[in-house]
Subunit: 169 residues, 2 copies
DNA sequence: TTGCTCCTCACGTCACGTGAGGTGGC
DNA sequence: TTGCTCCTCACGTCACGTGAGGTGGC
């Protein structure tokens, strides 16, 4: 069996996929919309976006001329804020806290998946080891046939003791 | 080794402890404070407690005469609300959402602990099994000493074949 | 010049806590 | 009667979104 690398598929996919994911991630994080467009996409007043930034709820990139540049992720975050303040009627302090708690939940879910993978791995490895041990003992044993009328010599021709392998009945 | 029972200590403690926990839990859930006392303990206006109840944030027991009776747990919940609205400045919609998310986090943490216990158990059981298999083979094998000048008889006095046990070098 | 950006300041709305006012049963 | 409960209604405060007003660079 060829030795497999240690890393997991979902942690670090092979070169091509990883590069692709990086590219996608970069795209989603790239500042592309200026404030009026981002506000339009999020269904908000531009000034509202500035207020959210002042409160630390969102941090758009800036152009060299200091113009705010919102990414796709930023817009989705704005829409999330919109849901929480609009539909649920939460204030900004609540939105901040909800984001913190959701981060915690996401962290726990990741650890849970990691634990499940680890448990599967342990199960698999130990059962393989068990199988290996069983096989290894079985391979070393052969059926012993009792001698008929012949007698066993004390030494082999080269003087070494006989290796007699026997299975207990 | 004596066989241990299946259930876990923190899920279902033995009779005495369980009864004690039930008693404690009953005490903490028993409606004991009327509204003015509960409000005093929570540092709130009594009317505020009625508002929270109307919003479904808290549900005190009621006496036969319809008087609200707050438990120790209720008071602690009120203090939690106080923290979130006072220190963090959240509104009631945010408090409700925070409570939901915290319940989810608690659920995940419980599942995590269960998973860890399960992983430990699997680890333990399979390693015990592995050890058992190794011992079981080892018990069947002994070192074979080569005969000196004597010769092995083909049969034992009772006519049965010899059981020759040997360890491979 | 037009239309965007940047910023600050002020007003309107709404959620929520406080308090008053009136009731009823130990 | 006193002091609690129950309830409803109204007001004050504060958070927050909207909008105006003034600036500057393509």
């Amino acid at each position: 069996m060829p030795r497999r690398p240690r890393r997991r598929e979902d942690e670090a996919p092979k070169g091509g996929e990883r590069a692709e994911q990086d590219r996608e991630s970069e795209d989603r994080e790239r500042g592309v919309y200026m404030i009026s467009v981002a506000a339009e996409l999020a269904g908000m007043h531009p000034q509202t976006l500035r207020i959210y930034e002042a409160r630390g709820l969102i941090t758009p990139k800036r152009s060299p001329k200091n113009t705010r540049l919102y990414s796709q992720e930023d817009v989705e975050r704005l829409q999330r804020i919109q849901e929480l303040t609009g539909e649920l009627g939460m204030n900004l302090a609540g939105v901040e806290r909800a984001f913190e708690l959701e981060r915690e939940i996401e962290r726990l879910r990741r650890r849970m998946r990691a634990l499940e993978r680890q448990a599967d791995k342990i199960r698999g490895e130990l059962q393989a080891e068990l199988e290996r041990v069983r096989r290894s003992f079985r391979r070393e044993l052969v059926v012993w046939e009792p001698p008929e009328k012949t007698l066993l010599p004390a030494r082999r021709p080269d003087g070494a003791p006989f290796q007699i392998r026997v299975r207990r009945r």
